[in-house]
Symmetry: C2
Subunit: 147 residues, 2 copies
DNA sequence: AAAATAAAGGATATTTTTGTCCTTAATTAT
DNA sequence: ATAATTAAGGACAAAAATATCCTTTATTTT
């Protein structure tokens, strides 16, 4: 469905959401190892997600690393796809036609329409936080409970 | 969702289903033009779909070309994906995890599960013929009516 | 038999995606 | 100030996907 690049982006962001906070940032080594992705390549992806007040926050130097602000946590997963310039795949025609619409439908349009809508809804309505929380219900993270 | 190769495979097969018969075969030039794909590349794809009693039938020489047997018409669209070795994408984990299951779910598993099932069902239950017929309802082909 | 037609197949080229490595910049601790 | 740490960024490499071209084989027509 998505490119490896986007898969890494999703996995990394969700991992950071689960395990980090502004007080406890994560290094690229830990992240890449945890999500099983090539380190330098993942670094590039995080750079992209970090650029111009993006989804992920980062700080350089000792004690630095990546984390997700609580505001970012509430953003829809689709925002990750958008930064990776792959949110297009959600609405794309299954047969790859550039002009495929209600007025000019491809042969699969009617059959695929409903699924496409659900896909868009899923990524639009699901927040990063929700996924992080879901994951924590199954495999609890080591993120310290706040009190 | 799919690679260009698979998109061309789907478009070409559906086009052939609509416009060809054993008595009226189609040449690669017509097909590539009609589905808006690079000719030689499409030829390779058709080769693959034709190989060892595959989905598409072909005959060389004058009057030759590609066509779909009525038996092939009744095959599910998933068979095209299978030949293109891309049927895996339907069941694949959205986050690209190799081990993602009910027992070891990825963070999106629960949310995506239903959509994945629908996707699989769609490609399994829809036949090439159905799509060709759907398309004909909108843009009638020039396929001569049989009587 | 020869010529013409059309797919099959091999070799190669181009582009995109994926991945690595090294240097630079920022920040902190000594 | 200096050294250590960590992300940012540029240049390059490898692999995969996409695309083109040319030759061969099968078939039909002349």
């Amino acid at each position: 469905m998505f490119s490896k690049t986007t898969e890494y982006a999703l996995r990394a962001t969700i991992y950071i959401a689960r395990k980090s906070s502004e007080e406890h940032k994560l290094g690229i080594d830990e992240i890449a190892k945890a999500i099983n992705s090539p380190k330098s390549f993942t670094a590039k992806i995080l750079q992209k997600l970090t650029a111009n007040n993006g989804i992920i926050s980062s700080v350089r130097g000792p004690g630095g690393g990546f984390y997700l602000s609580s505001k970012a946590q509430k953003r829809p997963v689709r925002d990750i796809l958008h930064v990776m310039e792959e949110d297009g795949v959600l609405g794309k025609c299954v047969l790859g036609l550039k002009k495929c619409s209600e007025a000019m439908p491809c042969p699969m349009h009617a059959e695929y329409k409903g699924i496409k809508q659900q896909l868009i809804q899923l990524f639009e309505h699901t927040t990063i936080q929700q996924l992080a929380h879901d994951a924590d219900k199954i495999i609890p993270s080591n993120k310290p409970a706040r009190h």
